[in-house]
C-alpha cells in the first residue's frame, strides 16, 4: 500500500505515518497543505491519500482536495479524510465525488491504530470507511428514526454497518453471523426501504447514507 499523508499538524502526521508504516504501508510523501498534497498525488500516483480536512488555506481545504483527487484520478487513488467535524454533509460530498475508495473518519480514530489501519487498507482497495459516529449522527435524527421504523433492530444494526462502508463479510464478522445471513438481511433492508442494490460497495454506501439523511 503506497500512501501519501497530508496534515498541517506534524504531531498527527507523524502519528498516522507511524501507524501505517507499522502496518506495512509505504509512505511515498508527506504534505502540509492542500496544494502540496495535490502536487504529490499528481507526481506519485499513490494507492491512498490520508488527508486532514483542515489544512491551509481554509477550514476545509483538505476536503476540497480530496474531492478533486477523486474526480481527477477516479478509482486509482483512494482518499481517506480525517476530520474534526461530525458533518454527514462532508461524507456525502466525498462519496458523491466519484468512484473508488473513500473514507471519512473522525480524528479520534487515530487513537485506535488497528481500526485506522483497517480503514486505510479498505479505502486503498477501493472500499469505503465512514466513521460510525457520522452514521450514528444521521441515524439518530428523528425523521430518520421514523423512516427506519420498518426495520427490525438487527436489520438496523446491519444497515448502520453497511453505511460505515463495511462489506458483507466484515458485517458478518462483526455480528458473528454468516455471510449468507447478512446477504439475506441486506436484500430485505433494501427492498423494505425501496432502495436499489448496487454491486459496487461505494454506490451502496452512498445510497444508504443519502437515504438515511433524507436525500433519496
Amino acid at each position: 500500500m503506497r500512501v501519501i499523508v497530508a496534515d498541517d499538524s506534524a504531531v498527527i502526521r507523524e502519528g498516522v505515518v507511524r501507524i501505517l508504516t507499522e502496518g506495512g504501508a509505504t509512505i511515498l510523501g508527506q504534505a502540509r497543505s492542500a496544494d502540496e498534497l495535490l502536487a504529490l498525488v499528481d507526481d506519485l500516483h499513490p494507492d491512498l491519500a490520508v488527508i486532514d480536512i483542515r489544512m491551509p488555506p481554509s477550514d476545509t481545504a483538505g476536503l476540497s482536495a480530496a474531492v478533486r483527487i477523486r474526480e481527477e484520478h477516479g478509482g486509482a487513488v483512494g482518499v481517506l479524510v480525517l476530520s474534526q467535524f461530525l458533518e454527514p454533509d462532508y461524507a456525502l460530498r466525498l462519496l458523491a465525488g466519484g468512484s473508488g475508495g473513500v473514507g471519512y473518519l473522525l480524528k479520534d480514530r487515530v487513537a485506535d491504530a488497528a481500526e485506522l489501519l483497517a480503514s486505510a487498507e479498505r479505502v486503498a482497495a477501493g472500499g469505503s470507511a465512514i466513521d460510525p459516529s457520522v452514521v450514528d449522527e444521521i441515524v439518530r435524527g428523528r425523521a430518520t428514526q421514523q423512516r427506519l421504523s420498518v426495520l427490525t433492530p438487527r436489520e438496523r444494526e446491519v444497515m448502520a454497518l453497511i453505511a460505515e462502508g463495511r462489506s458483507n463479510r466484515s458485517v458478518a464478522d462483526r455480528l458473528s453471523i454468516s455471510v449468507k445471513t447478512v446477504e439475506g438481511q441486506v436484500a430485505t433492508i433494501f427492498s423494505k426501504l425501496g432502495l436499489e442494490e448496487h454491486p459496487d460497495d461505494n454506490r451502496r454506501v452512498l445510497a444508504v447514507i443519502a437515504y438515511l439523511d433524507g436525500r433519496a
Partner: protein, 521 residues
Amino acid sequence: MGPAKVVTRDPWPATGVAAAFVVVTHYVGIVASAPLTFLIVDTGIGLLFVGTGAIAWHRRPSSRTGPLLVLSGALWSLGSYGPTSIVPLWTIGFSFEGYYDLAFALLALTFPAERLSALGRVVIWGMGSAFVARSIGRLLLQDPPRTYPDAFPPGSLVNPFAILENRLAFEAVEIVGSAAITATAIVVVVAATRRLLRTPSLTRTVIGPVMIGALVAMAFAAYDAAETAVTTATRAPLLEVPESLEAFLGWLVPAARAIVPISLLVGTLRLRSAGGPLSRVAASLGQEADPGDVDDALSAYIENDELAELLRSQLAELRASRARIVAAGDAERRRIERALHDGAQQHLTSVAMRLDEIRRLSETQPTEVPSRLAEIATELRDAMHEMRELARGIHPAILTEAGLGPAIGTLARRSPVPVDLRVALNGRLPLPTEVTAYYIVAEALTNVARSARASRVEVSLERVDSGLSIRVVDDGIGGADPLSGSGLEGLQDRVRALNGRFEILSPPNGGTTLAAWLPCE
C-alpha cells in the same frame, strides 16, 4: 390670505409715501394749532411705525410685518387729524382713527406666517366691521354743533358729511362699534397670550417680541374703545385719572405705544437670525413665503422635534443593547471557560493520574496495563467528543465553509422534534447574516425541543427583497414568553445590530411562530 403676496418687494415707494403722509399730516396739525407736545409725540410714533416697518420690509421682504407696520404708520397719522380744527380734516381724522389696530390684530394672530384660524377670521372681520361701522357713524351721523349743542356752540366745528345727523343712531353705533372693538381686541389679547405661552422656547425668541408688541397695541385698542363706549353711554370717563398722574401718563402711554413697532421689528428680524431648526423655517420665509410652504416648514420643525425625541429614545435603546451585547459576550466566554474546565481539563487531569497509576502498575501488575490503557483511550475519546461539540457550539465550521443551507440541515437533523425544512437561498449570503440566521434557528429549535411540546416544527429560509426571511413555526402549546430566559433575547440585539427585524408570536394553544428578517446587503 396674504398681503405678503401682493405687496411689492421694494419697500421704499410705500415707505416714502407713508412717511410723507405722516409728516404732512402732523405739519397740518401744527399749522392748525393742535397741542405741540402731542403732535411731536404723535409724529414720532407715526414715523417710528413707518421706519421700523421699512426696515422689517427691507430685511425680511416676505414677512407681512414690514408692510403692515408702514401701513399702520400712515393709518396712525390719519387719526392725528382728530385734534385739529380744520374742517373737513377733523372729521376724517375722527372717523378713521384706530384702523392700525386691525393690522396689529392680524399680526398677533398670524405672525410669522400662519393661516388665520376660523376664530381669527371672525375676530378680524368683526373688528374690521366695527371700525367701518363706527367710521360711517362718525362720518355721516354726527355734526357736533347740531348733535351736541350744549358742548359745541354753533359755528365751532362742522361736519360737512353729516347728511344723516341723528344723535341716537350715532351714539348707538358708537357704543356698539366700540364695544365690539374692545371685545375683539380682548380676544386677540387672549389668543396672543396663548400663542406666547405655547411657543416652544426655541421659537419664543422670534414670536415673543412680536406677541408682546401686539399685546400692548391690543391692550390700548381695547382700553381706548372701551373708554369711547363708556363715555358715550354715561358722559363720564371710564377712569378718573388723578391730576398728579396725568403728566406721567402723558409720557408713559406714548412710550408704551413705541414698544409696539420696536418689538415687532425685533421679532421680525430674528426670523432668520435664530439658529437651529428655526433657520429652516426662516429660510423658507426668505423665499416665496407661500403660506403652504411656511406651514410645511413649521410642521417640518415640529416633526424635527419629534424626530429628535425618537432619536433620543433610539440612542438610549442602542446604549442598552450595546451593554447587553457586551454582557452576552462575557457570559459566552464564561460558558466556554466553564466547558473547558469541566470537560477537557477534567478528562486530561484524569488521564494524567491514570497514566501515573499505570506506570506503577507496570512494575507490580503488568498484566493489568492493557485494560487500563484501553480505559484511558476511552476517556480521551470522550474528551475529544466534548471538544468537538464545544467548537461546533462556538462556531460551526460548516456554516463558513458550506453556507447557511447545509448548516441549517445539520441543525434540523439534530433536532429532537422533526423538522420540515424549506430553504430557498440561491447562493451564499453575507457572513453576518448567515451567522445570525443560524443562531436564530438554532436557538428557536432548542426552545421548541425544551418547552413547546410540539410534534413538528417548520423552518423556512427564503430570500425576499434585499433580505433573508426566517420563519420557525411549531405546533406546540404556545403561550410562553419565548424571550425571557432564553438565548433569543441576546439574538434580538444581534438582529437589531444588523438592522433586521425580529418577532415572536406565541398565543396560548396556538403554537409559537418566530419570524425574522435580516438584510443581505
